[in-house]
Amino acid sequence: MLGNEAIARGAYEAGVKVSAAYPGTPSTEISENLVQYKDSLYCEWAPNEKVATEVAIGASISGVRSMASMKHVGFNVAADPLYTAAYTGVNGGMMMVVADDPGMYSSQNEQDTRQIARAAQVPVLEPADSAEAKEFTKLAFEYSEKYDTPVILRTTTRLAHSQGLVELNERVEVEDKPYERNVGKFVMMPGNAIKRHLVVEQRMKDMAEDANDFAINRAEYNDKSIGFITSGIPYLYVKEVMPEASVLKLGCVHPLPKKLIQEFASKVDKLYIFEELEPVIEEQVKSWGIEAIGKEVFTLQGEYSSALLRKVFNLNGEEVMAPAQVPARPPILCPGCPHRSVYSVLKKMKIHAAGDIGCYTLGAVAPLSVVDTTICMGASISTLHGMEKAKGSEYIKDWVAVIGDSTFMHTGVNSLINMVYNQSHGTVMILDNSTTGMTGHQDHAATGKTLQGEEVPAINIYHLCKSIGIENVYEVNAFDIEELEKIVKRETRRDAVSVIITKSPCVLLKSNHFTKKCKPLSEKCKKCGACLKPGCPALTKAEDGTILIDETMCNGCGLCKNLCKFEAIEEVDA
């Protein structure tokens, strides 16, 4: 089972009744797997992580076990409800799964969830493989109810996307906790919160004390000349490379079991702390006056590995080959992707885009090179607005904001409301491909389908923009490049805020059936290279300079055909 699959199974077995999430690699498959248990529990895609967390809080207050899952940057979005839910505590058990991404396989930063959890004063459990992922999930609900707090399950990309063997158990039907009105606990205004803060401090102290006896915090004594304190996936690297070393494996990484650590430290000659990302354990351990080696030798950046241990401890056996020098193969937009068509128009018009997060972020790289900025979800619209307020509306006449449909529903809509309220003149392009593409095609409020596969009324983005007071809202097919160019030209010059919605479904959507393919007519080809400019991977140059189209890759979008002035590309039936 995939780590994420195991977490979903653990939640099912723990009797969870409500789950809400917003997709984000590497956490997405948790909800995608939970949905197979939909006869026993409710699960949904929320528009963003703050909403998801609040849904879980509400369910918990009503007395059932609930959860929210997200990637690490989603935890920032969810931080507001979390910090106060730490004060209220729970009624039914509540868990948040947060997936870190050491090495940034698919993220915009490398933050460490444990830092936020520490600041919010909530406990964190960290499993090392799929089997533990399932068991720790169940434990998270037990601890949540025992210590009256939301509990974080921290995973990483490697754990989430690794598979290991998992034993299945039956679901336990947990009885709902009775709901009783309790203003002192659930209404966080100053008078109540002051009292709850004391409860939080005491709870963390109690839990830290108990953590010395948690079975998931485990000292494995072997050769005592070297000892490691470690947790999660890095534990496996220690076992792989130095099976003879003593190890203190922490399953609960916040709060730390101080006595257990002191005891372990006193029994080994040299203590190493092997933790991915920030020195969270290390700084606490050192603050207790314990001598240890951590980030002096192990990096703060990137994913850990066995190779890192071998290097630090000089355990490299025979020489290994150096990697060959080969051309990089970065990710690209798929053949037939509507984003490519939109960017080919913007590039031709020499327009800059304030970008956002999604597949369309790839518009930043050559050969498209249209996107100038990418910060976080929803930021495209607000950063464009900031530029205008800084430099005036003339300055942004050759700028647009580009944002995907899922990202628009996530937080983009707030920024657009701000544009209306504060009299912006900017142009916003919503690249609506009818799905959350980047994370593997999840539905959202504007697609008309729920996580459970039910058809529901879709939010209409066009009418939504109209209803917040934007007069100039236009819908256009992403592949109609002439029309698109005309509209962009007109709207960027307009002295009012406008929205251009390019509507063309993602090529990878199952509902998207291609009936055409593009075929070069080499005798008509003038070798001008116009069709190659947008960087479609299905197109290459033949030896003689004419164009070749890989028929297994081509999805027949027709962009290359539309760009050819010599009718040297035709569309044929697929």
Partner: protein, 189 residues
């Protein structure tokens, strides 16, 4: 049994995940401990993709280290070259003799290396197949990865019957027959 290390490398969209699922399934079928590590998300958009499969009596980490792969399965030539340093000296490279230009080559920033397989054959044991052509002959170019898997299967610890059972249990029911045919084709090379 000592842990065996398999790697599958290719270009996002080539179906590395299906292949690794079959490799995981067969290890379980044969009663081994097994760990797999995949990369989802960004890497799938036409980027370079690598999947690790480790099986044996007891497997700790899910990643294969440099110089430790027993079998390297490459769905594309350049990707074979990119990951060749993971292969053990006496390991085997199974490669789909196929070229997909990365965007860096298409835009002229980099050049696609010539004679990749000829050069690799000088230092390593290489078995190659133009699986794309073979798959087209079978009538479905998508099953090329199962042809490559069939060729690789000869260098692993399972019987042909085991493979066919696991393929039947893993691929979508509509495609069982064509996938089995593809496997047999690769296995017979």
């Amino acid at each position: 049994m000592k842990t065996r290390n398999i790697m599958i490398v290719g270009v996002g969209g080539q179906g590395t995940l299906l292949t690794s699922r079959i490799l995981g399934g067969i290890a379980i079928h044969a009663g081994y401990d097994v760990k797999l590590s995949e990369v989802h998300g960004m890497a799938q958009r036409g980027g370079s993709v690598v999947t690790f499969v480790r099986y044996g009596d007891k497997v700790e980490e899910p990643i294969v280290e440099v110089g430790q792969a027993d079998v390297l399965i490459a769905f594309e030539r350049l990707e074979a070259l990119r990951y060749i340093h993971y292969l053990k000296k006496d390991g085997v490279l199974i490669v789909n003799d196929w070229r997909i230009d990365p965007i860096t080559v298409v835009t002229g920033v980099a050049e696609y290396p010539e004679h990749i397989l000829e050069d690799l054959e000088k230092t390593h044991t290489v078995y190659r197949v133009n699986a794309m052509e073979e798959a087209k002959k079978l009538g479905n170019s998508r099953v090329f990865n199962i042809i490559v898997l069939g060729l690789a299967a000869k260098y692993m610890d399972y019987t042909k019957e085991d493979w066919l059972t696991v393929i039947e249990n893993t691929v979508p029911s509509k495609t069982v027959e064509i996938n089995k045919k593809a496997f047999e084709l690769g296995y017979s090379i």
